[in-house]
């Protein structure tokens, strides 16, 4: 799933490891989510949103909205 995680992380000058520690997950998890290779569960997506103090939809791009834009 497309997302702005890398941009939000970079804006705070956090490394993937920094973000991983704040979310209590592995660095590999952060890498997989940032690169769109893994879609986080809803609880993890909420943790990400709460960490950045943003609504989920401002971090993760809804796949259905993305495809409707393409149409």
């Amino acid at each position: 799933m497309e997302n702005r995680l890398r941009v939000l992380r970079a804006a705070r000058s956090w490394s993937q490891q920094d973000l991983a520690e704040r979310l209590e997950v592995s660095r590999q998890s952060v890498n997989a989510i940032e690169t769109g290779k893994y879609d986080p569960s809803l609880p993890l997506a909420f943790r990400v949103a709460e960490l950045f103090d943003l609504p989920i939809e401002e971090i993760f791009v809804s796949p259905s909205r993305r495809s409707s834009k393409a149409i």
């Binding site: 209590e24 997950v25 592995s26 660095r27 590999q28 998890s29 890498n31 997989a32 989510i33 690169t35 290779k37 893994y38 986080p40 569960s41 993890l44």
Partner: protein, 136 residues
């Protein structure tokens, strides 16, 4: 192949202990049978002894999947176990038919467990190839 999470460390400790128990049981069983020290029905119990820690390792993998708090790392391990099951069952089924038609020699059943662990490694390679740096 998996990130060093607390659950992974506990899993590794369990596997090391179970491997040591396996070695001890195997040596004891082979020695007992070789020197005809095992009487009657006890033979069944002694013969099964080396299998118990291997079954324990399968249990340790299940426990790891329950204990792993990192959902992504857990998913990687699930993918590996699926690979392991598909690989070992495919080879065992293929070999079984070849054996049935007397085209290959008979192989002891416990090799399926060995194949399963080989499959676990192949699953780790698959994770790495398909997910790159995120594949651990």
């Amino acid at each position: 192949m998996v990130a060093r999470t607390p659950a992974w460390k506990r899993y590794n400790i369990r596997v090391v202990w179970l491997s040591l128990v396996y070695a001890a049981f195997l040596i004891a069983a082979v020695y007992g049978f070789k020197h005809q020290l095992v009487p009657g029905a006890l033979k069944y119990f002694v013969a099964v002894l080396p299998a118990l820690p291997i079954i324990g390792i399968f249990g340790a993998i299940g426990r790891y999947l329950v204990e792993e708090q990192d959902e992504y790392i857990r998913m990687l391990m699930v993918r590996q176990t699926l690979w392991a099951s598909a690989f070992s069952l495919s080879v065992a089924t293929t070999w079984g038919f070849l054996d049935n038609f007397r085209l290959v020699g008979h192989v002891d059943g416990y090799w399926i467990a060995v194949l399963w662990f080989v499959g676990l490694g192949l699953g780790g390679i698959y994770n790495k190839l398909t997910l790159g740096e995120a594949g651990c």
